[in-house]
């Protein structure tokens, strides 16, 4: 037994190297197959966005027919603008309330602040669907559903719990001494927050911004319910267009493409921040 192992050692090392190569090749092949499954829908959308309905039915030939129909049926430019306005306004509110509250919960603790923090964070588990109609009636009673305001507020409220959690977690990582020193140096708590804490927390602010941008840009429910028809976001506009049975498939694919591009660009640039936000609190 021992002698045979000794003599077999050299060929065994060769077979192991071969097996290593085969394993690597099998791994790569599997990863390529998974990549095809994940990317195929994107290819399908791009491919069929540049067809007319007839070309789509035959699955051959390309043209701008779909795009022409899309622009005829959907105010694409206006809706992209609506999406942008709503995103920017809601993210601005989220950043203001979550940085201030996160800083307060982390560094300016008062009696009961732990409980208040828990209250804010636990609002995370309220699905909008659960409160859809009370929310809608409330906001239309104060005349906020005839403009961007209602949707912006709803998005801001939905984004605040997690953003506050994220900011508080980040500010806890900043040393108390630094904050104390700044306050004793005469900055006061408000200016310490603005001049010390905010610049230090830019990575967390970036994470909140990217996460919220993708969430709000991609959302349908709020855009569908809380915005007047002429101020719909591109995602809501596209979804309602698709329920019209006469709409051609290529024009829907063109709409899908144009609505997805801003989110994809943001994803490609800020992927790292998105990953960070998604897995925060899970370190170790």
């Amino acid at each position: 037994m021992t002698t045979s192992r000794a003599t077999a050692q050299l060929p065994q090392r060769n077979t192991m190297r071969l097996r290593g190569k085969i394993t690597t090749a099998a791994l790569l092949l599997t990863m390529v197959i998974v990549a095809v499954v994940m990317l195929y829908p994107f290819w399908y959308i791009v491919d069929n966005a540049f067809r007319g309905q007839g070309q789509y039915d035959r699955q051959s030939g390309h043209s701008l027919g779909g795009w022409r129909q899309l622009f005829a049926n959907l105010p694409v430019g206006g809706q992209l603008l609506n999406s942008t306005v709503v995103c920017v306004a809601a993210i601005a509110i989220i950043l203001i309330v979550s940085t201030t509250a996160g800083f307060a919960f982390a560094k300016l603790r008062y009696r009961g602040s732990g409980l208040v923090f828990l209250l804010v964070v636990s609002a995370l588990m309220v699905p909008l669907q659960s409160i859809l109609f009370p929310e809608f009636v409330n906001l239309s009673n104060v005349h906020l559903t005839s403009s961007y305001a209602g949707a912006v507020l709803v998005y801001a409220a939905l984004g605040t719990p997690f953003a506050t959690f994220l900011m508080a977690t980040y500010y806890r990582g900043i040393s108390d001494e630094l904050i104390e020193a700044a306050v004793i140096d005469g900055l006061g708590y408000e200016r310490t927050f603005l001049q010390i804490a905010i610049p230090l927390s830019l990575p967390a602010i970036a994470t909140v911004t990217v996460l919220q941008f993708i969430q709000i840009w991609d959302d349908l429910l709020v855009g569908l319910f809380f915005l007047p028809t002429n101020q719909r976001t591109i995602t809501a506009g596209l979804a309602t267009l698709s329920t019209g049975r006469t709409t051609s498939v290529p024009s829907l694919m063109a709409g899908s493409l144009i609505s997805a591009i801003p989110a994809i660009i943001v994803y490609l640039i800020f992927q790292r921040h998105l990953v960070k936000g998604l897995t925060l609190g899970m370190g170790k």
Partner: protein, 319 residues
């Protein structure tokens, strides 16, 4: 100036007493200002969350016990809940949610395997990671837009099956109640791959490589290491992604259903969240919508409480 060991503590004590006496009012003034600043700075977030999330939850609970059309509400009382339990439509809808939960283990298992593959760090793995994560950036509306064409009678799936010689079995998956739900579940699983893969990959990066090395020296195969070493150490991450996936299954499928099936055929793909929309928007029974909303909220609250236990708020590391 040198002190003996016996003297040193006494000196230090008196010094600290002196300092304490001198700065005590200043310090407490500072503490008071800090508390006030804390309250002021946390107020906007608290107000926003209470006004737009907390208050409507209370209203939903109230309206769930009324007949409500948006203008006038007639009080009925808690009997709406007993009526709900006897309503076959409610159970039909809950059944759809329960069946969708069957997709959760798959939506976790596949990403686990993918993360394990990526974690082998074959050349180019970072590129593949970006590719797998890409759908996370895409709206469910766009995903549904594609899935609708993928599963339809003349769609990609049937084209593929015909190509492989199964032409005779060509069916419109979205036309049957059960197959439509299955199509929805498959789309859901595909959409969750990116998120869950990233969670597991993050988890695997935290594992101690010497443990894996030790297992390899002990003669465990790759698969053995995956099941006996990696998986047990990932428990917390698996729980985390389980909760996220369950929450998504209950509350993130609205857009997908809206685009793909509108809840049909029949009640085939009507989930709790979609029935809320139908009851309120199409039938103008806002009381019923609120009732279903409360049920959904209770389920989400249970999932959320588990989630709060899994994420550790005081752990500011990892940035």
């Amino acid at each position: 100036m040198s002190l003996t060991e016996a003297e040193a503590p006494a000196v230090a004590r008196s010094a600290s007493r002196r300092r304490g006496r001198n700065s005590s009012p200043a310090r407490s003034r500072l503490a008071r200002r800090r508390r006030r600043a804390g309250i002021v700075l946390s107020l906007p977030a608290v107000a926003l969350v209470i006004a737009l999330l907390g208050l409507p939850v209370g209203q939903a609970v109230y309206y769930s016990m009324t007949q409500w059309n948006g203008l006038t509400a007639t009080w009925i009382g808690p009997s709406t809940y007993t009526a709900l339990v006897k309503d076959p439509i409610f159970w039909r809808v809950v059944q759809n949610n329960a069946l969708l939960l069957l997709a959760v283990p798959v939506a976790i298992g596949i990403p686990l395997v993918i993360a394990a593959l990526l974690n082998e760090h074959v050349r180019g793995w970072r590129f593949f990671r970006s590719v797998y994560f890409l759908p996370t950036a895409i709206s469910w509306v766009v995903i549904g837009m594609f899935a609708l064409r993928f599963f339809s009678a003349t769609g990609v799936l049937n084209g593929l099956l015909a190509h492989l010689g199964f032409g005779a079995s060509a069916t419109d998956m979205l036309a049957g109640e059960h197959s439509a739900l299955a199509a929805l579940a498959i789309t859901f699983i595909w959409s969750m791959v990116g998120t869950n893969t990233i969670i597991f990959l993050t988890g695997m990066a935290t594992l101690d490589p010497t443990l894996v090395e030790a297992a390899r020296v002990d003669g465990l195969s790759r698969i053995g290491i995956f099941f006996r070493v990696t998986l047990p150490l990932l428990t917390r991450f698996i729980q985390f992604s389980f909760v996220i996936t369950v929450i998504s299954a209950f509350s993130a499928l609205f857009s997908l259903i809206f685009v793909m099936t509108s809840g049909g055929p029949g009640f085939g793909t009507t989930t709790l969240e979609f029935f809320i929309y139908q009851a309120g928007f199409q039938q103008v029974q806002l009381g019923t919508a609120a009732l279903y909303g409360v049920v959904l909220f209770v389920i989400m609250a249970i999932a959320g409480l588990i989630q709060l236990r899994l994420i550790k708020p005081d752990d500011g590391e990892g940035w």
